[in-house]
């Protein structure tokens, strides 16, 4: 980037990205009709979500890099753009580290379910 003039992208670059975005949009719509849950059983249904999210991420990356001119931007701009993303990742990781691990706790360390055992647990130690 020169001192006073910013980078001017060729028209073709924008058109190429736009066509790619359109193709990916139709791919998203088409992927909905891949019925992984019906074909291979319900537990494979997550593949649909994964495909949709991966396509969305690619689309967003294209928009950010080319349309939002991130590829010509300074490192400082990259840091700020990355900061939003990284903090979002931290929020997702910590939240799901909790929610997704609740079922994984073995039964013997779980809170007892019946009311009497809950009361027993909260009694002072000398009562034993």
């Amino acid at each position: 980037m020169s001192e006073t003039h910013e980078q001017i992208d060729p028209l073709g670059a924008y058109v190429k990205v736009f066509v790619t975005l359109m193709v990916l949009l139709f791919a998203t719509g088409g992927a909905y009709y891949l019925k992984f849950d019906e074909w291979f059983g319900e537990k494979w249904g997550f593949i649909n979500t994964m495909i949709a999210l991966i396509i969305a991420t690619v689309k967003v990356a294209l928009v950010m890099l080319v349309f939002m001119h991130l590829r010509h931007s300074t490192k400082l701009t990259w840091v700020i753009a990355g900061a939003g993303f990284i903090w979002l990742c931290i929020m997702i990781t910590f939240t799901f580290a909790d929610y997704l691990s609740r079922e994984a706790i073995p039964d013997n360390v779980k809170m007892p379910q019946s009311a009497s055992s809950v009361v027993a647990m909260h009694e002072p130690a000398h009562a034993e």
Binding site: L25, T28, V63, F67, G84, L88, M91
Partner: protein, 281 residues
């Protein structure tokens, strides 16, 4: 604007006369401070506000400011996305989310994605036209962007209306077997999941309650997005007026660039919203 600030400094903090060392420009290289007013011929001097050292620094500061704002927006909308996922990963909610999603008008969601992606293209073309000094096309591309954005908004209104008429309004009470036909009730009718005749009342209510949460996410996420669209349309109306006056030149079009960043961000939010709300499987 920058020149006005510059000039008012001269008027308020010094006499500006030659040899007067109290004025802000007295130690500068220009021996005739008042002449700065007519300094348009010397490069980009008039375009740079007095607190920036050059045009590149000014441009980067503006862009960076918008990126910082967008980072806060990511946290704002990201939190709702995370809340959505914490429910969606749970088995009983997922089934209701999936069948609730089937009741939304996927075609409108698809067309709206198409409109928004196209509007992102017209925004960058407006910036490019400004970079090349093509003032007429800056204006035209901004107007095109607004038309596409307004089209999105129009479809959104049609869609909300249709949803409302289809009893997809989570504030209404659940449908039961005794609900009269003309009463206001909440029931996603498409697909047998919520209308299965063999369901007990408790089971039906539980399914509808789970689906209700999906529609709450649907309305809050798309509503928030639609609000951002409205703000964006207002900003672009302002830009179009400025462009019509021929304000955006190859040296000075930062407003288009920065507001374009905002517009692309709204587009990005929708890119994630579309599969997460309309294409749940």
């Amino acid at each position: 604007m920058s020149e006005e600030l510059y000039d008012s400094n001269i008027l308020t903090s010094g006499t500006g006369a030659v040899g007067d060392d109290t004025g802000p420009l007295a130690r500068g290289t220009n021996p005739h401070p008042i002449a700065v007013e007519h300094d348009h011929t010397h490069g980009h001097h008039g375009l740079v506000a007095h607190h920036f050292s050059d045009l590149a620094q000014q441009r980067e500061s503006g862009t960076l400011g918008m990126w910082i704002f967008l980072a806060t927006e990511v946290m704002f909308i990201g939190a709702i996305f995370v809340a959505y996922f914490t429910y969606r990963v749970r088995h009983e909610f997922f089934a209701a989310f999936r069948h609730g999603s089937e009741n939304l008008l996927m075609v409108i969601g698809f067309v709206n994605t198409l409109l928004l992606l196209t509007s992102s293209l017209t925004v960058v073309l407006a910036i490019r036209a400004a970079q090349l000094g093509n003032k007429k096309w800056v204006f035209r591309h901004l107007i095109l962007t607004m038309i596409l954005g307004a089209g999105f908004f129009g479809f959104k209104v049609v869609e909300y209306r249709a949803d409302y008429n289809e009893h997809l309004w989570p504030a209404w009470p659940n449908w039961t077997k005794d609900t009269p036909e003309d009463a206001k009730y909440f029931l996603p009718e498409k697909g047998p999941y919520f209308t299965d005749k063999s369901l007990s009342v408790e089971e039906l209510n539980s399914r509808l309650d789970h689906a209700r949460l999906f529609y709450r996410f649907y309305y809050s996420l798309t509503g928030l997005h639609a609000f951002h669209m409205l703000v964006g349309l207002g900003i672009f109306a302002f830009l179009a007026v400025q462009a019509h006056r021929g304000k955006y030149t190859p040296e000075s079009h930062q407003q288009v660039e920065i507001c374009g960043l905002y517009w692309h961000f709204v587009d990005i939010v929708w890119i994630f919203l579309f599969p997460l709300l309309y294409l749940v499987r």
